[in-house]
């Protein structure tokens, strides 16, 4: 078996094993979007009127609207969780083991990214299953069509996590990521409100949301769940994935590490 494939299986397997060992992480990953879906959305439904916008063919409930955003939320939090794991690995020293392997560093980091994305997608499907049990059902084929969109969105958010982990030196500094990355990315997006609704309160906010890659990841998932295709969202998400991945790989390269260490 090729060394590349061997390492891919081992790294993805280790990520899966680590996830299995952290059952509370799985529960937390599901509870967060479910609280939004079953508590926040239920209360917000009366306050927010939704018009018919693509990809929807008819009026939808607010719960239905936010499901793709909550799928994105799971991917976003998992991307940051994997970032946290990488920083922990670096502090504990086990990252050194990975970085001193004779296989190319970029490949090993891509394996990490693929492993983290696979775990995230499993959680998204678990969430969609629970949402279906509460009557929030997508077109049956939409669950299949959403898979490629979830892979692209998961890779983009995982790459962002990888990038952050390459620049954050200590675990303690990670709290700032919550305030400066996760919250702005989530709230300044179309996850909770459509962009036209955002424009009613502020055009500037709408414009910020429109360039937020998370908005496009959510729209990509939303359209795919309804068996529709959003080319612009795919383009933006792929572009962001390439930029984040390239920057992260540079950040983890011996040259990138060295420059930061040497100041």
């Amino acid at each position: 078996m090729s060394g590349y494939l061997t390492s891919l299986i081992a790294i993805v397997g280790r990520e899966a094993l680590r996830f299995v060992h952290q059952r509370e992480r799985f529960v937390a990953a599901l509870v967060r979007p479910l609280v939004w879906l079953l508590v926040f959305a239920a209360g917000f439904r009366a306050a927010l009127g939704l018009s018919i916008i693509p990809p929807y063919q008819t009026y939808i409930t607010y719960e239905t609207y936010i499901v793709p955003g909550l799928c994105g939320m799971i991917l976003l939090f998992n991307g940051m969780q994997s970032s946290l794991s990488l920083i922990y690995d670096r502090e504990m020293g086990s990252m050194k083991l990975l970085l001193t392997s004779p296989l190319p560093r970029w490949w090993l980091l891509i394996c990490k990214l693929l492993g983290a994305t696979a775990i995230s997608i499993l959680q998204v499907y678990a969430f969609l299953g629970i949402a279906a049990m509460f009557g929030i059902i997508m077109p049956p084929l939409g669950y299949v069509a959403a898979l490629p969109a979830l892979i692209v969105a998961g890779l983009m958010l995982g790459a962002l996590g990888l990038l952050l982990s390459s620049f954050i030196k200590q675990l303690e500094n990670f709290a700032g990521v919550m305030n400066f990355v996760i919250f702005p990315m989530f709230f300044l997006s179309s996850a909770l409100y459509p962009l036209w609704k955002m424009a009613e309160s502020s055009v500037l906010l709408r414009d910020i949301c429109a360039v937020n890659p998370f908005t496009h990841a959510v729209e990509l998932i939303r359209f795919a769940l309804y068996l529709d295709f959003n080319g612009a969202a795919l383009g933006w998400t792929v572009l962001a994935t390439v930029v984040f991945t390239s920057a992260a790989l540079w950040g983890y390269s011996p040259e990138g590490t060295g420059i930061r260490r040497r100041g």
């Binding site: 083991l97 001193t100 296989l103 590490t257 060295g258």
Partner: protein, 238 residues
């Protein structure tokens, strides 16, 4: 061919030198101790030898492979035991070794054969199914040495591998590592403890980013103990 060749290596942290024009060569199949007080530059040297950092100046060869121009070949010949434990404590000894083997592209039957070999060699075959978390310090270190030997490296680097161990475990690990040269492995053993160096060992003393002495321990210590000779050398150059 040399096991390790380092030429004119320099490195600094924001202008503060950590290594200043360091050069040395270690013959293949020999044991060399790298002795230096805390902050001497040992860990920086190890980070450069393992390509965790890239030197702005100087050249490193591992078993004849240039680390800068041919990093994959050089790293494939390198076994490393870091100062900090790098075992996954939630995995068993066998799983830790298996994961590492995969990172070196070793799979299938070859992987299980190699794992059994190194576990036997380090006398920890009976611990294979134990989680790393349940091992004592000595056995954790043995597991890490076993792991570092899994891909049959030509060069083994150990960065203060006995830190935190009791005297018996330290002696046992030191004996084991000295014995590894029998099959031609080159060993670089970094330590700040003079009692881990034997009179017949090649010794490099690193102090304040520079090599203070390079020779056989018995020649450097002369009529006194190595500990005293080391303290005298480092005090004189403080």
């Amino acid at each position: 061919m040399n096991g390790i060749s380092v030429k004119n290596l320099s490195y600094d942290y924001g202008g503060k030198p950590a290594l200043n024009n360091v050069s040395f060569e270690i013959e293949a199949g020999s044991f060399c101790a790298l002795l230096g007080p805390n902050g001497a530059g040992k860990s920086t040297l190890f980070n450069l030898l393992t390509r965790l950092f890239v030197p702005p100046q100087g050249q490193i060869e591992i078993a004849g492979h240039n680390l800068h121009t041919d990093p994959r070949a050089a790293l494939a010949q390198l076994g490393i035991v870091f100062q900090q434990t790098t075992l996954d404590l939630d995995l068993t000894v066998y799983q830790n070794l298996s994961y590492f083997a995969a990172l070196h592209g070793i799979s299938g039957r070859q992987r299980s054969v190699r794992i059994e070999e190194v576990l036997d060699r380090l006398d920890i075959a009976d611990r294979a199914k134990q989680k790393a978390r349940t091992l004592n310090g000595g056995h954790r270190r043995r597991t890490e040495i076993a792991r570092a030997l899994l891909h049959k490296p030509a060069v083994l680097l150990l960065d203060e591998a006995t830190v935190g161990l009791d005297a018996a475990a330290r002696a046992s690990i030191t004996d084991h590592v000295h014995g590894l040269t029998d099959d031609g492995t080159t060993i670089l053993w970094a330590t700040h403890l003079a009692d881990e160096v034997r009179p017949d060992d090649r010794l490099i003393v690193l102090h304040q980013a520079e090599i203070l002495a390079d020779g056989f321990a018995r020649d450097l210590q002369k009529d006194t103990s190595l500990q005293e000779a080391f303290l005298a050398m480092t005090r004189a150059n403080a």
